[in-house]
């Protein structure tokens, strides 16, 4: 509870943010602060300057435009959980939101902040992967768009370059008949996932499934299980899919859980997801 000393700036236009990011020293963006402030409190980080972007206009909110849902980077987890638009168009996010930390944290923590932090056990990066989201990144040079699959580059590492700010995430609505599934195993609810699965599953009229399966907590970043997807799309059953998952995932163990156990748990989540999707009336 004794953060190191740092300077603080609260810009009101994005150009000011770019100026501040160009400065010397360890300059950090402060969004919801739900990961950054605890790390300051424990003196695990010692930035020279915090750039508080919470008062920047236009970075918050959820809107549908041009066939995509655009979620401003500063949109709080709690807003996503409560959004009717999200519930209708991107139910995967609505399913995932309650698993993120605790209510008071969801009231402050932001969608963009979680994605930019790229914690491998976090829910949003995996959801973005499963939904094929596009990250909208701004810098003094203008905006560029990065596909979720290219965005998460490693442990707490992203494609964001120095001087860039994640401003929004755009997600195309899944095709009609597509269903979402979210599940995770954690020591306690709200803890970081031991293993989790965010899935967006396209379904044909004949019941054939084409699932985008994003697993998290299984390595240095969320992983799309592509080989497993092909097996399921090709009509493979649960056992086939579970067997194939070993080609997609090679989880590393941690203090709590061995890598092999994580792979097993991922297979359990996959099997349960497939069983649930097969019995779901709306699917």
């Amino acid at each position: 509870m004794k953060a190191p000393d740092f300077a603080y700036a609260r810009p009101t236009v994005l150009s000011e943010v770019f100026d501040l990011l160009d400065g010397d020293g360890d300059v950090r963006l402060l969004a919801g602060g739900q990961s950054l402030v605890p790390s300051l409190n424990m003196r695990l980080s010692a930035p020279s300057l915090l750039v508080d972007i919470n008062r920047l206009p236009g970075l918050s909110g959820i809107e549908a435009r041009d066939g995509v849902v655009r979620i401003g980077a500063l949109t709080r987890h709690g807003e996503i959980a409560r959004s009717a638009l999200i519930a209708e168009r991107l139910p995967l996010l609505a399913m995932a939101a309650p698993h993120i930390a605790h209510a008071a944290i969801r009231n402050r923590g932001t969608f963009g902040g979680s994605i930019a932090l790229a914690d491998p056990a976090a829910e949003w990066p995996a959801c973005c992967l499963a939904l094929g989201a596009t990250m909208v990144v701004a810098s003094r040079a203008g905006e560029r768009r990065v596909a979720a699959g290219d965005f998460f580059t490693g442990l707490f590492a992203t494609a964001l370059r120095r001087g860039e700010v994640l401003v929004a995430i755009e997600i195309a609505s899944p095709p009609a008949g597509s269903v979402a599934h979210f599940s995770e195993l954690a020591r306690r609810r709200g803890d970081y996932a031991i293993v989790g699965l965010a899935a967006q599953v396209a379904r044909a009229e004949d019941g054939a499934m084409d699932p985008r399966l994003a697993f998290f907590g299984v390595g240095d970043r969320p992983v799309l299980a592509e080989a497993t997807r092909r097996v399921i799309a090709g009509g493979g059953g649960i056992a086939d899919a579970q067997a194939t998952l070993g080609r997609d995932l090679a989880p590393t163990g941690d203090a709590e859980c061995a890598g092999a156990t994580k792979l097993h748990l991922a297979r359990v989540l996959l099997g349960r997801a497939m069983a649930a999707l097969r019995t779901r009336g709306d699917a």
């Binding site: 004794k2 000393d5 003196r43 195993l185 020591r187 306690r188 970081y192 709590e256 156990t261 097993h264």
Partner: protein, 787 residues
């Protein structure tokens, strides 16, 4: 609030201030010209301090003073003490290595104090501490208990060879061996009792003041026993005379044992306040609490139980290694000995018992009493092995217990391990628990669970505890350095309201209500006319404090004794006022009456007469203010049975508690609402130990891996169900309230109840003997899949 009776669900007097943010905890105090301390701590489990350079830190903004272990040693500040001398099996006292308040040349666990920085703000103190340069020579460390007694293990203290603090025994080994030779069945069990961090929600904190004019010190501290803190600091550590040191424990946010002990931080604060002549405040950060609050449990045990063919227990032998950590905490030696082995008879007629305990030093945080203290460890061994024996002998585990219970007419009952149980009636408790748990329906529920791919299990735990700690002569003969009586003062004011001054200390237990409640009942005074005062050595008589479920049986009894003195004196006053013989006065519902007449004097009138003694007995002292000290004649022996039912997901190892029943005999109950709260809280701490909590160290570096609330998974609301409680009442025969104490029962019994349920579930797949606490999903899954 008007008059209340014992047994009523009286709402708590203290709640209004807590609910409105008006509580006053140590960190809430605002002191004039206050400075703040930050303690620099060792990052190493074992190292020599070659050199400490404080020059850069001393120049840091806001710094007032920096002290190191060298300063403390040069000032001849005494080391911290262990207040209980345990004699080993050869009659020699335990090894008592020095425990300096601040390490001067060697650090012995991660978190050991190395320097104290005092600055104008807490942030500045920490900023400066980061600039202290310590040159450590890192040495090999012994972290795990396993291997600590190996002759080749790294040594924690030169004067404790082989890391052995003591090798202690209790019971008749030869008789036990003889009984085992004749047994029809022997059950063997190896157990680990996992190390826990107490985790009171209020972190430890202290603030010290020194008054140059009077030479008086005041220490505000998060203590369960302010007088004990004063005694230890005065007589053994700082040399400040007792009458020049005032210790105040204001509102304290939970203790669970961890706030009994005298720690380096409050010691250093008090000493340094005198040195710098300013007040100093310190509040632990949670990560410091994890590293430095005395931990609990941490045993490795092998036990064997001998039974005859019908399941009657013939003998029990237990071999335990207990971890004491790097230094002896205040009562550390007593916990794995007199608070542990003496409970190994449980509720059973086991004729002979032998227990050997070896206590080891390791390069870890000191271990001492944590809710239950020794008794949960004993209960876990007894109740785990009894259930295992039942499974092996194919006898229902409730039935096996019933066959061995001490009969209700056998009290007082002398066990083979020193204690004399005063009262109890165990079978009806089991009956009630089985009924509440629908024990008879478990097979159907197991089948239903199996049909959906789950494993159900049910676990029984019948516990006994010795609490109301306890008779001074007895604990003295066992090595305690203190007496364990309690004090009370009933101080009437002339206007008729009353202050109860108690040596007990409430840090969540609700004494301000229950102590007022017993006096309201006894003296017929409205509750809102009674104030309970505690936690200040300048206000209340010398008292021993709150731990070991002793506040009501011992502290409450002292209050009753003082109330008797009030009544006796009031009778003399009333007799005088009514011109009657004292022998004819009776006291009923707050009024003195002359028997056989309608003459009456309310207590308030007698009180007023005592303070304004215009018309008053010539031979009687004025005033209505009575002191009492109560020293019990025995421990109290609460008992009970808990039944836990779990469902295990064999694919993930997740254990879900689907039902939990606790039936207890606490003797008479003063406030059922408060008692239920104590049971609920205790159960969840026990569930935490069984399923979630573990103070895990990195065995190479000695870092506490589970050193934050992210990693040390304390139970949250959705990890536990609501509970079903029941009571049997056999009043304690030897204290005036007939009470036994209820603070620890939940935590004592729950680990075995939960683990017996988990083992019962895992028995369906043959994995019942492969699981230790905490039964995390990973461990459960591994147990199921270890072929």
């Amino acid at each position: 609030m008007g008059n209340v009776k014992i047994g009523e669900r009286v709402q708590r007097k203290e709640d209004r201030r807590f609910l409105t943010g008006s509580g006053r905890y140590v960190d809430d105090l605002q002191l004039a010209r206050v400075t703040y301390a930050y303690f620099l701590r060792s990052p190493h489990a074992h190292a020599k301090i070659r050199k400490i350079d404080t020059s850069k830190a001393a120049a840091s903004v806001g710094v007032v003073q920096i002290f190191t272990g060298k300063d403390v040693a040069e000032a001849k500040v005494g080391g911290l003490i262990c207040g209980w001398v345990v004699k080993d099996k050869h009659g020699n006292p335990h090894k008592a290595p020095a425990h300096p308040a601040m390490a001067a040349d060697t650090v012995r666990h991660v978190g050991d104090t190395v320097a104290m920085v005092i600055a104008a703000t807490a942030d500045q103190a920490r900023d400066a501490a980061e600039k202290i340069e310590v040159d450590y020579e890192v040495l090999p460390a012994q972290i795990n208990l396993a291997g600590a007694l190996d002759p080749k293990a790294p040594q924690v203290h030169a004067d404790a060879p082989g890391n052995l603090c003591y090798d202690w025994e209790l019971g008749d080994k030869a008789a036990v061996d003889a009984a085992f030779a004749k047994a029809a069945h022997v059950t063997k069990l190896d157990l680990v009792n996992n190390r826990l961090v107490p985790n009171a929600m209020e972190p430890r904190a202290a603030a010290a003041e020194y008054d140059r004019g009077t030479g008086n010190y005041t220490l505000y501290t998060t203590s369960q026993n302010p007088h004990v803190a004063r005694l230890v600091l005065s007589a053994f550590v700082l040399g400040i005379p007792e009458h020049k040191l005032r210790v105040i424990a204001p509102d304290v946010g939970g203790g669970f044992g961890s706030k009994i002990f005298i720690y380096p931080e409050e010691t250093m604060l008090t000493w340094a306040a005198g040195k710098i002549g300013r007040s100093i405040k310190w509040t632990a950060e949670r990560s410091e609490s994890f590293m430095t609050d005395a931990h609990g449990r941490d045993h490795v045990t092998h036990a064997e139980l001998a039974l005859d063919a019908k399941g009657k227990i013939l003998a029990f032998k237990v071999d335990t290694i207990a971890n004491l950590g790097a230094y002896l905490s205040t009562f550390a030696t007593a916990v794995p000995t007199y608070l542990y082995a003496t409970l190994l008879a449980g509720q059973y007629t086991t004729p002979v018992i032998y227990c050997n305990v070896r206590a080891a030093f390791t390069h870890t945080t000191p271990v001492d009493a944590y809710r239950g203290a020794g008794r949960p460890e004993a209960t876990y061994v007894v109740e785990s092995i009894v259930s295992k024996a039942a499974r092996e002998m194919k006898i229902d585990s409730a039935e096996l217990r019933r066959r061995n219970y001490i009969a209700k007419d056998a009290f007082p009952y002398q066990t083979p391990v020193a204690l004399t149980y005063d009262s109890g009636n165990y079978a009806p408790i089991l009956d009630q628990a089985m009924k509440l748990a629908d024990y008879a329906g478990i097979d159907a529920r197991k089948a239903a669970a199996k049909a959906k791919g789950k494993l159900r299990g049910i676990g029984v735990c019948s516990y006994i505890e010795a609490c109301g700690i306890a008779p001074s002569a007895v604990v003295g003969s066992l090595g305690a350095g203190v007496g364990l009586w309690e004090s009370a003062q009933l101080k009437f004011n002339p206007t008729g309201n009353l202050q109860i001054l108690t040596g007990s200390h409430s840090h969540g237990q609700g004494h301000e209500t229950t102590f007022a409640q017993i006096v309201s009942d006894k003296l017929g005074i409205p509750l809102d006319q009674i104030e309970v005062v505690h936690g200040d050595t300048d206000k209340v008589p010398f008292g021993m404090g709150t731990y070991g479920s002793r506040s009501l049986p011992v502290g409450g009894s002292a209050i009753m004794k003082a109330a008797d003195k009030i009544i006796a004196k009031g009778k003399k006053v009333a007799a005088h006022l009514m011109e009657a013989a004292e022998a004819d006065i009776v006291f009923e519902n707050g009024t003195f009456k002359v028997t056989g007449t309608d003459k009456a004097v309310p207590l308030g009138q007698a009180v007023f007469a005592a303070y304004v003694p215009h018309n008053y007995p010539a031979d009687l002292e004025p005033g209505m203010d009575e002191n009492a000290f109560y020293d019990p004649s025995n421990f109290t022996y609460p008992s009970g049975t808990q039944i836990c039912e779990v469902e295990v997901d064999p694919d993930t190892g997740v254990v879900d508690i689907v039902n939990f029943v606790a039936v207890d005999d606490f003797g008479n109950i003063v406030n059922p609402m408060v008692v239920e709260g104590q049971v609920h809280g205790g159960i969840v701490q026990g569930v935490g130990q069984a399923l979630l909590e573990n103070a895990a160290y990195d065995e190479k570096t000695g870092q506490l891996i589970s050193g934050s609330y992210m990693d040390y998974t304390m139970p949250r609301a959705d990890d536990v169900p609501s509970f079903k409680l029941g009571y049997e009442v056999t009043p304690c025969p030897h204290n005036p309230l007939g009470v036994k104490g209820c603070g620890e029962a939940g935590a004592i019994a729950a680990p075995a109840a939960v683990m017996n349920a988990v083992r019962d579930a895992l028995a369906a797949v043959g994995a019942q003997d492969r699981i230790e606490m905490p039964a995390t999903p990973q461990r459960v899954w591994a147990a199921i899949n270890a072929h």
